[in-house]
Amino acid sequence: MKKSIAFSVLYFIAAITYAQEGGLLKELDPEPQKQYVTNAFKSSRVINGHSMEMIGAGVLDFRILHRFGQVDQGLYEVFGLDQASMRIGFDYGLSRNLTIGIGRSTLRKEFDGFLKYRLVQQSEGEKSFPFSFILVAGSAINTLKSIDSVKQSLNSRVSYNYQGIIGRKFNSRISLQLTPTLIYRNFVEAGDKNEIFSLGFGGRFKLSKRMAFVWDYFANMAGFPKERSENPLSLGIDIETGGHVFQLHFSNAAGMNERAFITETTGKWSKGDIRFGFNLSRVFTIRKNN
């Protein structure tokens, strides 16, 4: 008798299983599909340095960068706003993993260009990969008129920069990246080294859907005459409004390409040598997908 009760209970459980409502999808035991992790940063630059973010295929990113004078100059210079240095640039997404870009800075009348290639994109799900790995190779050439005492050859005006970006979006708010960088300058002052190593630390903390706090720091590791070069540290806010991204920040760096901001930063945060600056990015879809 006890056994029939036991079996009745089992039948009841079986009946419940049979008649179970909902949860049909669970029976498919869906293998989690591989999904790329996107939007680690709002922009393709953290502030000065490249971010782990690429611009989309067929997208043209028109970038206007301004760096003002030092804030500590007071009201007469409107805290540096009277003095502006700028870079105007165009980046274009040849594919989702390859971006090409050119720019021109007022500082040293320098042209620069780069190629940025994403080897691996962070993903989740099946065959996921925990971080993105991006390579950047760039070059810059200054076009200042030679003065008689210093005749610069074309070759001596050129510098190169190579970066590997290892980045991870940890969650919807926090993304961090490391950027080992090598800069090679063809021409340097006596006693300086041609090659310079620097390690970049970039990150963002998303404050809201359209706003994020960002930081961008490069620690100069080797090849630097310490007394003439400070580590560039920039702190800022990204604001996205439709097709624009405004990056507003304070930094001790005035340069806007890798050579300039990594090797020519002289301001010290500790002395209050900071400048206000902004990057304005406007994207245009040149080529539509599909």
């Binding site: 909902g22 996205e240 439709g242």
Partner: protein, 204 residues
């Protein structure tokens, strides 16, 4: 379950059967029920198509997703569709970024799930080729909000293969998808959603 109970009674009548025998038969019956439970007649797909259209004065937006997962149980009429938000593809990369980051918030709400029932199930003969205009009613969860919806559905049975197509509209504000005033002329007040699914038999 009824069959099981009847057999049980008959077994009780036969007094000289051993308890072991009883246990054996009960066990067999349980297995039969368990198998019946699993072998309900279900259809599934992992490559369902979901497309949505937004028509607005300044911009038309279209996005496609070819990886919707769906299960349909023809014995009960239950249907479920699960759609991964990040799998929607837009013609402009920026639209896709804004869709994921600003509107649908796919990091927070990665999936949309619809659970519902096909109406007029009795009038559908799944063994015969034919086309049926029916409807589906259920609950759609999108952007973390769940709402009752119903939609007309066309079921098509061709060479024993079942396909389903649905076409309906939703309002972003019903799902707490906030659209800033600045872009209100770029995003439709109503979003048209089209679902096309070619089902396969579900084999375990």
């Amino acid at each position: 379950m009824c069959a099981g109970a009847e057999l049980n009674d008959r077994i009780k009548e036969i007094s000289d059967k051993t308890i072991i025998m009883k246990i054996g038969i009960n066990a067999v019956l349980l297995i039969v029920i368990a198998i019946a439970g699993y072998c309900q007649e279900k259809y599934f797909t992992k490559v369902g198509k979901v497309t949505f259209y937004s028509k607005a004065p300044l911009e038309d937006i279209e996005a496609k997703n070819n990886n919707a997962v769906s299960v349909f149980d023809k014995s009960t009429g239950q249907v479920e569709v699960s759609t991964l938000m990040k799998a929607f593809e837009f013609e402009k990369a920026l639209m896709q970024e804004h869709f994921n980051e600003n509107y649908i918030e796919s990091d927070k709400f990665p999936k949309s799930v619809f659970r519902g029932m096909i109406n007029d199930l009795a009038s559908i003969d799944f063994a015969k080729d034919g086309k049926y205009n029916t409807s589906v009613a259920g609950r759609l969860t999108l952007h973390g909000e769940t709402k009752d919806i119903s939609a007309p559905v066309i079921l098509n049975i061709n060479n024993g293969k079942l396909s389903a197509a649905a076409d309906f509209k939703i309002r972003p504000e019903d799902y707490k998808i906030s659209i800033p005033a600045l872009v209100k002329d770029k995003i439709g007040k109503e979003i048209r959603i089209m679902v096309e699914i070619n089902y396969e038999m579900f084999k375990r």
